[in-house]
């Protein structure tokens, strides 16, 4: 295969494309990672208090879960479009939309994780003089980690894939390249960006799996604990 010609003959796989547009690919990937990281981090920061709130006040749990489910039903193109007048054309539109999506799974899984903490563990900690905060961060949160991490992995993977839709307003990371390639029928650009996007999702998932193993060494022997 003559490398120089694959750009002209518009082939799917083109080394020349990767070589000449390396900078563009790197920038798009970095933007993609940035949007994903920001969304998932903010999502966690919002979901955690929400889950605690829903646990403390039972009447809140129904509306919180209901509302996040409704948000999850809204198609991404519509979600970003609805947020457009709020933030104008900026990365905030995409990040806010992705945060709203992430809440559904994160809140549910954090609540499920906290609910799965054995009452005996709580009693023992209280007996040892743990206050509510120390109980939460020292005992309950570590025991809830498997469920939390399972939710975080699902959220991260779908956030990576949904970021591409941000291309509609020009903040879609690798999605921008897919969008651009779609308009100019540039096959190599579309395929390369798509493959990178899936690779990003897989790498993120594996990293989180590794993190989970590191954080919950006690679950390594008996795999029953993992949700």
């Amino acid at each position: 295969m003559a490398d120089g010609n694959c750009l002209i003959s518009n082939e799917w796989i083109c080394g020349e494309y990767v070589r000449t547009r390396g900078q563009e690919l790197t920038d798009a990937t970095l933007e993609h990672v940035g949007i994903t990281l920001a969304s998932v981090a903010i999502g966690l920061l919002v979901a955690f208090p929400l889950a605690l709130l829903a646990r403390r006040w039972r009447p809140v749990a129904g509306p919180v879960l209901g509302l996040t489910t409704i948000l999850y039903t809204v198609p991404s193109l519509a979600m970003f479009s609805l947020l457009l007048p709020v933030f104008g054309v900026s990365a905030a539109v995409v990040i806010t939309g992705l945060v709203l999506y992430s809440l559904t799974i994160l809140v549910r899984n954090i609540m499920a994780g906290l609910a799965s903490v054995p009452e005996e563990a709580r009693e023992a900690a209280r007996g040892m003089g743990y206050g509510p905060l120390r109980l939460l961060f020292g005992v309950e949160l570590p025991l809830a980690l498997p469920a939390l991490m399972a939710g975080l992995r699902i959220t991260t993977v779908s956030t990576v894939s949904l970021t591409t839709v941000g291309a509609i307003i020009g903040y879609g990371g690798l999605g921008n390249l897919i969008y651009e390639g779609m308009r100019s029928f540039f096959k190599a650009e579309v395929l390369t960006a798509s493959v990178l996007c899936v690779a990003l999702a897989v790498v993120a998932d594996l990293l989180l799996l590794g993190l989970q193993r590191l954080l919950t060494p006690w679950a390594r022997k008996s795999r029953k604990g993992t949700t």
Partner: protein, 245 residues
């Protein structure tokens, strides 16, 4: 907010609802695509899932397909299919993408539903001399019904969402109102289109929730009896791979 008022005006303008670019025509396209693709995906995925669940094999496959469905961006698949040789065949790239993304939730939920059907009941039915086919039809399917319906509902919402995205590469459906609004930098139209799409998704979700309640074969017999309690809790996310695009 000004935009909200203008979007409302857009929706209230009769001429926006008529004609080949009008809301009614786009809604018709959207519903047609959704219905056809949901029917195809159910016809493909449900028999496979029920058969696999019945013999108790292929659980890893069901889970992996659902994970892959999450990791692969819908938008990328739509564009890849458009640029492939299929791209010249009208609606087919869209239909194929929609079916591909509807299959994972159908497959996973139906598999889990049939596989996790109360083993004691299944054993009892087998002890009564039921054949495999009778077992599937009269025991496992009714017990799995709620989860199968969850899968169908998730798939339906997924199809509605993906059909919206199909407007980006030039497919039909309500998404076209949004993309046209972007092209005209007409934010009120973008918002109006988004409201229509979001409403459609919520209505579809609602209709399938109701269908699930009305059609549940176990409803009259046990009400909120023990079978209801034995359903896998919705909290455990792996079994409920709801996703939007």
């Amino acid at each position: 907010m000004d935009v909200v008022a203008k979007a409302w005006t857009w929706l209230a303008t009769g001429s926006h609802w008529a004609g080949p670019d009008g809301v009614w025509h786009r809604l018709g396209q959207h519903l047609f695509l959704t219905f056809v693709c949901l029917a195809i995906s159910c016809a493909v995925a449900l028999p496979i899932a029920v058969a696999l669940g019945h013999i108790g094999r292929g659980g890893a496959l069901a889970v992996n397909i659902s994970n892959a469905g999450r990791a692969v961006p819908t938008f990328a698949v739509l564009v890849l299919l458009l640029l492939s040789p299929l791209g010249t065949h009208g609606q087919w790239p869209t239909i194929i993408a929609l079916v591909l993304f509807a299959i994972p939730p159908l497959l996973t939920n139906a598999y889990v539903g049939v596989h996790e059907a109360d083993r004691e009941v299944v054993e009892a039915a087998r002890g009564m001399g039921m054949t495999g086919a009778q077992l599937i039809r009269r025991v496992e399917l009714p017990l799995a019904f709620p989860l199968i319906m969850t899968g169908v509902r998730t798939a339906a919402v997924q199809v509605v969402a993906t059909a919206t995205l199909a407007a980006l590469p030039g497919g039909g459906g309500l998404g076209r109102i949004i993309t046209a609004g972007f092209r005209l930098t007409d934010t009120p139209q973008v918002v109006a289109g988004a409201v229509l799409v979001a409403s459609l998704a919520l209505v579809v979700e609602g209709v399938f929730v109701l269908l699930g309640l009305v059609l549940d074969p176990m409803r009259r017999r046990t009400g909120r009896g023990p079978t209801a309690a034995r359903r896998p809790p919705a909290d455990q996310a792996p079994a409920s791979p709801a996703l939007t695009t």
